[in-house]
């Protein structure tokens, strides 16, 4: 049973529900999600990698008890993999089968361009879905500008035209979430179609809550120390700053290894969970893990 948007009466309701689903959402984001449900506008989330942008969409889908359709963008993404494609093998076979039937040319043509020969990709699926899904368009900054322009059209009209079939109109407007790591600036037109929210690394308290949500067995004190170290790491100039996923990975690694506290040894053994580049690991080791630990203990 799908969730009724009208039942969401206030932003606080969203943050409560998300909390139950295991996603810690702050007041600002919950307000914006509330607004998104009310206005039906797409939401553009920008921020560094690993701050939980994608997770917003999955949680929203769970919250609304609806399907999540995900389109991962990449350079060279085209209509065939984003919108639809004809299943031409099946079409060819069908022509072969129909060879001995006495049908007119136009009937045959209408048959092979029917819906059963259409391979629906995420965007078309989102539009034809029987109940409004959450459509996640992930890392839109990686796609080409041509695709962005196409998306713009889709997001304003919510219809797709297929030359052989005609125009497909959305039965229900999907809830669209776009994410971007900001490797390039998106066009103003696209940004203006969307609600905008910059997702930053969480503050200490929020991150502790997040880790606690994921690893309820872990001691609060250990989580606190660990998050402090991660925050110290983020302040340094690293190639790849650790995201929230790294913090959680690291915490579960420590848990699995059976460490009860952060020591030089435990950090050295599990540093690979939080730093994902040799340069970073080397530079931290060069500085000395002891000094890293000392810096976090003082605060």
């Amino acid at each position: 049973m799908q969730f009724d948007h009208g039942a969401v009466s206030a932003p606080d309701f969203i943050s409560d529900q998300f909390d139950k689903l295991g996603y810690v959402v702050d007041e600002e984001l919950s307000t914006i999600l509330f607004l998104m449900l009310k206005l039906g506008k797409p939401l553009l989330l920008e921020g560094p990698p690993g701050v939980g942008k994608t997770e917003v969409a999955t949680s929203l889908a769970k919250f609304l008890n609806t399907e999540l359709l995900r389109l991962q963008c990449y350079e060279g993404l085209d209509v065939h993999s984003a919108v639809y494609e004809w299943n031409y093998q099946k079409q060819l076979l069908s022509i072969k089968i129909q060879e001995n039937m006495h049908r007119s040319e136009s009937e045959k043509e209408a048959h092979i361009f029917g819906e059963e020969f259409l391979l629906k990709r995420p965007l078309l699926k989102a539009i034809t879905s029987p109940q409004a899904p959450v459509l996640l368009i992930d890392e839109i900054d990686r796609a080409d500008e041509e695709f962005e322009a196409f998306l713009l059209e889709l997001l304003s009209a919510f219809q797709i035209s297929i030359p052989e079939m005609g125009t497909v109109k959305a039965l229900h407007k999907p809830l669209v979430i776009l994410t971007s790591n900001r490797t390039r600036e998106l066009s103003d037109a696209l940004k203006r179609r969307c609600l905008y929210h910059w997702v930053n690394y969480p503050d200490m308290e929020k991150e502790i809550r997040i880790v606690h949500k994921h690893l309820p067995d872990m001691q609060e004190q250990l989580i606190r120390e660990l998050v402090r170290v991660v925050h110290t790491l983020r302040e340094q100039k690293l190639d790849k700053s650790p995201g929230i996923a790294e913090t959680i990975d690291w915490a579960s690694a420590l848990l699995a290894l059976g460490y009860r506290e952060l020591t030089e040894e435990s950090i050295a053994k599990s540093l690979g969970c939080v730093l994902k580049s040799t340069d970073d690991i080397n530079s931290i080791k060069l500085q000395g893990i002891a000094s890293l630990l000392a810096a976090t203990k003082i605060n």
Binding site: I32, L35, G76, K96, W198
Partner: protein, 380 residues
Amino acid sequence: MNPSQHFSGFSSLEQAIVGFGQQARELGFNVGVQETIDSLLAATSGITANKDHFRYALKAIYCCAEEDSEAFDALFNAFWNKRRHLIESKVNFKNRSNLQKKGVPSLVMVGQGKQEEGGTDTKNVSGANDMARLRKTDFSRLSEMDSKWMEEIAQKLWEQMSMRLKRKLKATPREGQLDLKRTIRASLSYGGDPIKLQYKNRKPRKPRLITILDVSGSMDKYSFFLLRFLFALRSCFEKLETFIFSTQLMRITEELQAKNLDYTLAMLSSQANHWSGGTRIGECFKTFNDQHAKRILNGDSTVIILSDGLDTGDPEDLARELKKIKLRTRQLVWLNPLKGMQGYEPVQKGMRAALPEVDVFKSAHNLDSILELEKLLMHV
């Protein structure tokens, strides 16, 4: 405060929201009627009961980038606290994302006012005229303040250019041409129907671009920017080879691959300092031919030499070595910053000796001249 209780001097909340939209527009936010309508809709959804919620909602509607956030908060607070005369002085225009694009007159005024106080903020609010001026300014004649700004603009423009180039170079069809022979062979197992199409895959040809930058004393001011330009190029030419020279040749391809540009530049400049002195282009090219050319050049490469051609060595050496390079390349480009000077003639011995071998001779003294290279690079 509850915004629905007092309306910042307007008679109703609706009017105040419209007024807020106008105010934001005047201050350079890229907002239109749609944003105002959205804010009105947001207000009717019961979000106005909590001021923070109201602010978050309007922020999501009005802002287009993280940098807008600060200016928005200032505007919001000033407006809804009924002190509208303070708005213009309160709103801080540092780091605005799309101000440069818009050129709203009132903004420039704000910028000028600020100049007297601090002066550091002006770079973000100066109008389009300044930008055009800077793009034409010779790199060697930049004032210190302009230089910083120039660095930012240059970085941005070059990255855009590099992005465009990248796209052009990569925009090959996913599948190549139909391979009829193989399709027919494959169709045998389906009774002669071409069910599985076979494609000829195009062999990816990676462009080879070799850049040789002069970092001698006479090039000092230019090489600083040109090196940044090469850094921007490296993302779109996978096989970009870079050398620098003054009295000696040095390969810096690997150094340029590093992620941190500032670090790389600092390291290079500390090394390059040891070599100030004359420029021996001929000798350096000889080193290039002896040690690197065979491995790097394959007859289909493009070599770009960035140098002012002021040579203290023997011009005959230069001509001879350049001829050798020419034999192994498709295109030899010489970019000379001095060419941008009025009345410049390539009369120096070195340059005169080099010119017969050079396919393209262009200037590279300011931003515009470098951006013009895009066409050339597209066909590399």
